[in-house]
């Protein structure tokens, strides 16, 4: 009884700020202005304007996730192989930026990349041609990778740290060279970390509107921007909610797929 009481504040919190808002999103998503049931807000994803923003968001967030993975894996391996005091110091260096405000970090990149920004000033000073990075998909990907990289590094680092070094020694002992030991033992054993890393990067990247607004100008609309505009500018909560539901379903669908393939990978491994 006492233990149940302890969870009361959390239950109250989640009811107030998670369950009720979610119900409201569903209510708005499936009704029109007069409160009548409709699927048009959901189907609105099919309009060229919306589907373009949706696929652009999927494309850029997938690209960012892939880049994050290839940057994070070697980094996590290096971190996991460092022993003692140095490892915690270097891990701290990677966590440190996460303690800084997300908006500030993104605005800093804007200052760096702007047409008259820091990078172009230096290039101009050296007599080199200016770079045109800001307001391109590239700038958005850069912002996503920069902001979300730690979320890929940490879960992979965690699983790699848990792998018993003798399991790798056993692979070497049984005749595997370093590359074979990596592909047949390290990589499969780190799959859970990879999956949570991908989820933790892909989901926020897919739904972001801050990075695309600050680094993409108004030129590139992602699905996150469209939804944000429906709520803050157009004032059409019904359409905004409908598109949110589509996005939410897409993410849940992907997570279920990855959970299923992960389980299969467990039983018939490489």
């Amino acid at each position: 009884m006492n233990k149940k009481l302890l969870s009361a504040p959390f239950l109250f919190w989640s009811a107030l700020f998670i369950i009720i808002p979610l119900c409201m999103v569903f209510y708005y998503g499936f009704t029109d202005k007069d409160g009548a049931f409709t699927l048009s807000n959901i189907m609105a994803i099919a309009t060229p304007e919306h589907s373009k923003a949706f696929f652009e968001a999927v494309k850029l967030s997938l690209l960012s996730t892939v880049i994050c993975f290839f940057l994070a894996y070697p980094l996590a391996m290096i971190l996991a192989n460092l022993k003692g005091k140095r490892s915690s110091l270097i891990a701290l260096i990677f966590i440190l930026p996460m303690w800084m405000n997300f908006l500030l970090r993104t605005l800093a990149w804007q200052t760096l990349l702007e047409k008259t920004g820091v990078i172009n000033s230096i290039l101009g000073f050296l007599g080199l041609p200016a770079l045109n990075i800001i307001n391109t998909p590239g700038a958005i990907v850069l912002g996503m990778v920069y902001n979300f990289l730690p979320f890929m590094v940490l879960p992979i680092y965690n699983v790699l740290c848990k792998i018993d070094v003798n399991v790798l020694n056993a692979a070497r002992d049984l005749g595997a060279n370093e590359a074979q030991a990596f592909l047949k033992v390290t990589l499969p054993l780190s799959v859970p970390g990879i999956i949570s890393g991908i989820t933790m990067v892909f989901v926020p990247a897919l739904t972001t509107f801050v990075i695309s607004t600050i680094l993409g100008g108004s030129k590139i609309l992602l699905i996150g921007n469209v939804i944000e505009q429906e709520f803050t500018q157009t004032g059409n909560w019904h359409l905004g909610s409908g598109l949110s539901i589509v996005l939410m379903m897409f993410i849940i669908f992907n997570m279920v797929i990855s959970a299923i393939t992960d389980k299969e990978g467990d039983t018939n491994a490489l």
């Binding site: 020694n169 070497r172 002992d173 060279n177 491994a269």
Partner: protein, 357 residues
């Protein structure tokens, strides 16, 4: 030395400036069950890791079948290791675990399937092919780790405290299992343990190590009955180690009383250490004993009684099937064959210094 399967020559290794092995020399004969025995930090595991290729010695050579393999990586060595905590691949089935080494060597599927069957039969786990390692008990996992190693037909199997994580009963069963396996397979075993009983049960040869030095090499009987120094005597079983004086050949003075013994060549009136095993101390009527004392402690141990007898200022540890109540005056007698004489170490350091066969 010529028929040795493995020769360790002048192996020296230190970590962070701390000497782990100092000029270690050891040879291992073909088909031998050799045990490296010692307390933790004595260098036994480092020796095994150098053999397996997981550590490189700072100095010295590892010669295997006449070839210098000091700089070969583990995957190029014709030997296999059974690790302390099994180190099975948890993402693979038992069959895949056992097939790991064979697949890398590109053996045919039929050959691999045969080998898996054979290995599982050998370790008494037929039918476990499709189980996952996590669903097995500790003892079963250890058998799989052994099966995974031996399917590769190594010349030499290294075992790093493989029974350390098992409970007592299982450990004893596995000891017999290992002896049987070694005899059936006819390969050389190098076994690392800190458990003296395990070493005595299984080994052909025991190498007692301490602080990076070999203290004594010999058969289990020899190590137990004729320890060469106080460390070995103390580490292998309980013993009474007493400072004494060698009066002349075959006569030693212990705590002021003269005992007949069988050792010769120590000189006259030379200070020595004597080792007397607790089961070799005979308690008799006071008038029949060489020394007289009083029983001060008594504990029932099952197979025997453990008693402490204070005599001439020393607490003698005695194992006997006959009980003597606390406070009983007794006489102590020792058969001359059961008194083992050892040279006294000349300095503190000497205790750790190598004693060569």
């Amino acid at each position: 030395m010529k028929n040795a399967l493995v020769n360790l020559e002048n192996i020296t290794k230190s970590f962070d400036g701390q000497m782990i092995l100092d000029e270690l020399n050891l040879y291992i004969r073909e088909n031998e069950f050799l045990t490296l025995l010692g307390p933790s930090g004595c260098g036994k595991t480092t020796t095994l890791r150098i053999l397996g290729g997981f550590e490189k010695p700072d100095k010295g050579r590892v010669v295997f079948e006449g070839k210098d393999i000091t700089n070969l990586p583990p995957n190029k060595r014709n030997l296999n290791t059974v690790f302390q905590k099994y180190a099975l691949f948890t993402h693979m089935s038992i069959a895949e675990n056992i097939a790991f080494g064979l697949k890398i060597k590109n053996k045919s599927k039929a050959y691999i399937d045969d080998k898996i069957k054979y290995a599982l039969k050998l370790v008494n786990l037929d039918g476990f092919e499709n189980r996952m390692p996590d669903s097995l008990s500790g003892g079963q996992q250890q058998r799989i780790a052994i099966a995974r190693a031996i399917v590769n037909e190594p010349k030499l199997l290294l075992l790093d405290e493989p029974l350390g994580a098992l409970d007592l009963k299982l450990r004893q069963d596995m000891q017999y299992e290992l002896i049987r396996l070694k005899n059936e397979l006819g390969i050389t075993f190098i076994y690392v343990t800190h458990d003296q009983e395990e070493a005595l049960t299984m080994s052909d040869t025991i190498v007692v190590m301490n602080q990076g030095y070999i203290q004594q090499i010999g058969s289990p009987e020899r190590i137990y009955n004729e320890p060469e120094n106080a460390f070995v005597a103390d580490f292998i079983g309980d013993s009474n180690i007493i400072g004494a004086t060698m009066v002349r050949d075959r006569l030693v003075e212990i705590l002021g009383a003269r005992f007949a013994c069988v050792d010769e060549g120590f000189g006259e009136n030379k200070p020595v250490d004597v080792v007397i095993r607790p089961e070799d101390v005979e308690l008799v009527a006071p008038s029949d004993g060489t020394i007289q004392g009083v029983v001060t402690h008594l504990i029932f141990k099952g197979v025997h009684y453990e008693m402490e007898v204070t005599a001439n200022g020393y607490e003698w540890l005695v194992h006997s099937t006959r009980m003597h109540e606390v406070g009983t005056p007794v006489g102590i007698k020792v058969d001359p064959f059961n008194i083992q004489i050892m040279n006294k170490p000349e300095s503190e350091d000497e205790e750790a210094v190598g004693v060569n066969e």
